[in-house]
Symmetry: C2
Subunit: 506 residues, 2 copies
């Protein structure tokens, strides 16, 4: 079972944030490319051309903001639109999306909310890319930047926040917009960055909408089983038989794999393009599908990671439950994941991730700062049971990346423990929005902290659904949620104007 | 006058913070030792043995908290006393003094307030040393650490704050004191660190007493003339003739220096041990005396930088004004500074700083992050007129240390512009205490920002007098100020207990 343990802890990295996928176009050029991510890159190409218009610009950034080492600068890409901005005289706000671990154009396309509300706010829109992703690569090329622990060492959240702060300060100066209020947006890891940036740089931004931001998924702040329990509950609530079939399937896979010709049979059952090398790879493939399904369990058809129907888990379970009685459990499972991996019906066979240990930006971040302990509970989870073990995690990071994780650093730098007590009378103007179907919601802030550090929870929401472009099919709770967010942001801005006026009049 | 410009801008560094002096014991071992600072180190030895009892310990710190570069760790010294701590069960508070640019033992001796109030709070006391000062030296030796811009590059305020945060997190764990509230203290640059740490690490400390912390002395937030105007006003309020004599003395020095044998005559007039090489050195020596006098213009005899009488500027001006009519202006000046440099009467002659460009930790910080523009106004200042010029400042830093300053970094990282608007509804529990005689008060926060981010101003106070050990001669306003501070700190702690209880009961 040692092999299997690795499987789950890899998954923890891989699913860490769905958005990691967008990096994959880049990752093809890396030392270790990852097919698992590559799959999502492919879906990225399904997208319609961007609906939102912007200019692409570049800003030279320091590699280490917190030392004076002589290091090469790197070009940070950012997308910018001033089309609807009412300008500095009218103190037109600046909407800043905190780019996360992927190509910024992909985030821009998938964060319709910001673009859609910009006109009514008369806001400038800026989407800076996160360092080491997309085109914002230090050392001249992704190959060099991702070469080893030394070149990767400046890929940290603190440096990214400093990038945003330096960039926006420079932009404000160039636009003579010193007094224009900045509002932060971010989803997933980008939501964490948005919340942290409001806390660390209150002089730069007046508020933050942090959607699906699991800032509490560190150390022992939330139980390590949270993530997989929520994924599992997504399935259980659709069908307990579906949940049970999945839960039983792992042993079935293992025992089949151990039989003569078992790997061939699994290869056939799951319609894999290449012969399965190990059942671990199949575990990975299935675990990924279930986890991502929970994240994008949207109530309408979507095309974020994969082309999927609305309520995709319902559809998966319909297939798993719906095949004729007496059908082999693995065939049921195959019918289910086929909804996820091949809803369009275009796939002739499936390629598994052939290098699950491949280095990607997020893998590095997960092995350094973003140490998020995750376990799978024997009873409540439909995944194979797994107990998080920091020692073996550290060993893997040392082996794979030559780096020792700092598991307590994020809570030291950004906090997290006792966040309600800490922020009750400190900080202001943060929205933590979460959908309870999203497995990352368990690591986020689900209760109001103060009058202006608030939590918006939707029972039927999935991963940062509020930031997605609006659709004809948006349910009323989603429309309402976005209206609340708009009202809160309006409040921050008018409060800012009042305070500025009061100070000015003093 | 080019030479002279350098003189004043050097002064800006040198007087940047009086506490720089405590580094001097160390600096003797450095590539460039500084006699100017050395003088203060000597006074350090006048002190009685420490009145406060503590243990000295060391903690291994990362050199760069914000990257994963493989760098050697260094031992951070810290002084600790648990004598009065009531322990974790009773949530005994932890008083953390933010060590500034010097030997931490010197600060511990001169921060009696923290030691004196610890028993009534049942508090643990911790004085961590600032990296690159005292014994907390990276790379094995001061010689190596101060070798060049590369080895010095990790000497930044952000790294120092991270040091404090990592240290206190570790200490709390070792003492099972996770829930014990931490209160920050700091004076001068240490006060800036205390305020910034409360803002950046609210999860680590419940409040900060930031005494004489000029967090607004950056860019154009306050007028660059502030510092020298306040020094000058210290003299003017004692005696306008004294002010005028000093104001006239610079031309007298210059013209004397230009005459035949003029430097010899100045050497004799000012009782210098070595022949004066340039009038610039004499300018430096006098400007330093006046600036430091303003900082330590305490109402009682003190022994902080030099052994001095109470109201030392009054005494200096008495001498300057009091010599017989017709006395040469330079002889008057000499009689005045003699009070500062030789109150004990033990000095046979005076050694000027023989290496005013010597590299010290604070000089490095002033040439990198701590870029504090300062000018001397032709009319209001008694110092030679000088207009701050960033271009030449940058050139000097490049020449001297091979480093380019980042003049906008501090305001980007920590804010400062529009601080009242920014912090009105953000942050809590900070006291900015200032005495208006202190030339650094002009760059500090002199008005309340919110209910709990408050300003305590004393008209007759000088540089962080509130943090000094209490004396029999403390005026009533100082006693009152400290009582107010104690009440505010008590409020933070009881508020913390209540919030914790409320969360716990939830």
């Amino acid at each position: 079972m040692v092999e299997h343990r690795w499987s789950l802890s890899t998954l923890v990295f891989s699913v860490a944030f769905i958005i990691v996928v967008s990096y994959s176009a880049q990752s093809l050029a890396l030392k270790h490319s990852s097919r698992f991510l590559g799959k999502f890159a492919a879906t990225g190409t399904h997208f319609e051309p961007p609906q939102f218009l912007y200019e692409t610009r570049y800003f030279q950034q320091r590699l280490d903001h917190f030392s004076f080492s002589e290091l090469p600068t790197f070009p940070q890409r950012y997308l910018i639109s001033t089309d609807h901005w009412v300008g500095p005289q009218r103190l037109g706000p600046i909407f800043l999306y905190c780019g996360n671990e992927g190509d910024i154009e992909w985030f821009a396309q998938n964060t319709g909310f910001v673009w859609e509300i910009a006109p009514q706010f008369g806001a400038m829109v800026v989407f800076p890319e996160h360092r080491y992703y997309g085109e914002s690569i230090p050392f001249g090329s992704a190959k060099e930047a991702y070469k080893d622990a030394t070149t990767l060492s400046y890929l940290t959240a603190e440096q990214a926040l400093a990038d945003f702060s330096v960039l926006i300060t420079d932009l404000k100066q160039n636009f003579s917009a010193k007094d224009c209020p900045v509002v932060l947006f971010g989803g997933s890891y980008g939501g964490m960055l948005a919340a942290w940036m409001r806390l660390k740089y209150p002089h730069i931004a007046v508020g933050a909408l942090a959607s699906s931001a699991p800032i509490l998924q560190f150390e022992d702040i939330v139980p390590p089983e949270t993530f997989y329990d929520i994924v599992s509950n997504n399935f259980k609530r659709e069908s307990s038989t579906c949940f049970n079939y999945i839960k039983q399937s792992w042993d079935e896979i293992t025992s089949t794999g151990q039989t003569y010709n078992g790997l061939e049979r699994l290869t056939k059952t799951f319609n894999l393009c290449q012969k399965l090398k190990s059942t671990v790879d199949l575990y990975d493939w299935l675990e990924s599908a279930y986890s991502y399904l929970a994240m994008v369990n949207y109530p309408y058809p979507s095309d974020f990671l994969m082309t999927l129907p609305g309520h995709p888990i319902r559809e998966v379970c319909k297939k798993i439950d719906g095949v004729p009685a007496g059908t082999n459990i693995l065939e049921r499972i195959y019918e289910g994941v086929n909804v996820y991996y091949n809803y369009t019906g275009k796939e002739k066979c499936f390629e598994l991730d052939d290098d699950p240990h491949g280095m990607s930006g997020w893998d590095w971040q997960a092995c350094t700062e973003m140490v998020m302990p995750m376990s799978s509970n024997q009873d409540s989870s439909m995944f194979p049971p797994y107990e998080y073990n920091y020692t073996s995690f550290q060993e893997e990071c040392l082996n794979d990346y030559g780096v020792k994780p700092r598991p307590k650093w994020i809570t030291t730098e950004f906090g997290g423990h006792d966040i309600h007590a800490t922020l009750k009378k400190f900080g202001s103007n943060i929205i933590f929005s979460n959908g309870l179907l999203d497995p990352w919601s368990g690591g986020s802030v689900l209760q109001n902290i103060s009058e202006s550090v608030v939590s918006l929870v939707t029972e039927e929401g999935a991963h940062h659904i509020d930031l997605r472009p609006s659709t004809q099919n948006d349910p009323y709770w989603l429309v309402e949620q976005r209206e609340t967010e708009i009202k809160l942001i309006e409040g921050w801005i008018s409060d800012y104007h009042q305070k500025n006026k009061a100070i000015f009049d003093m």
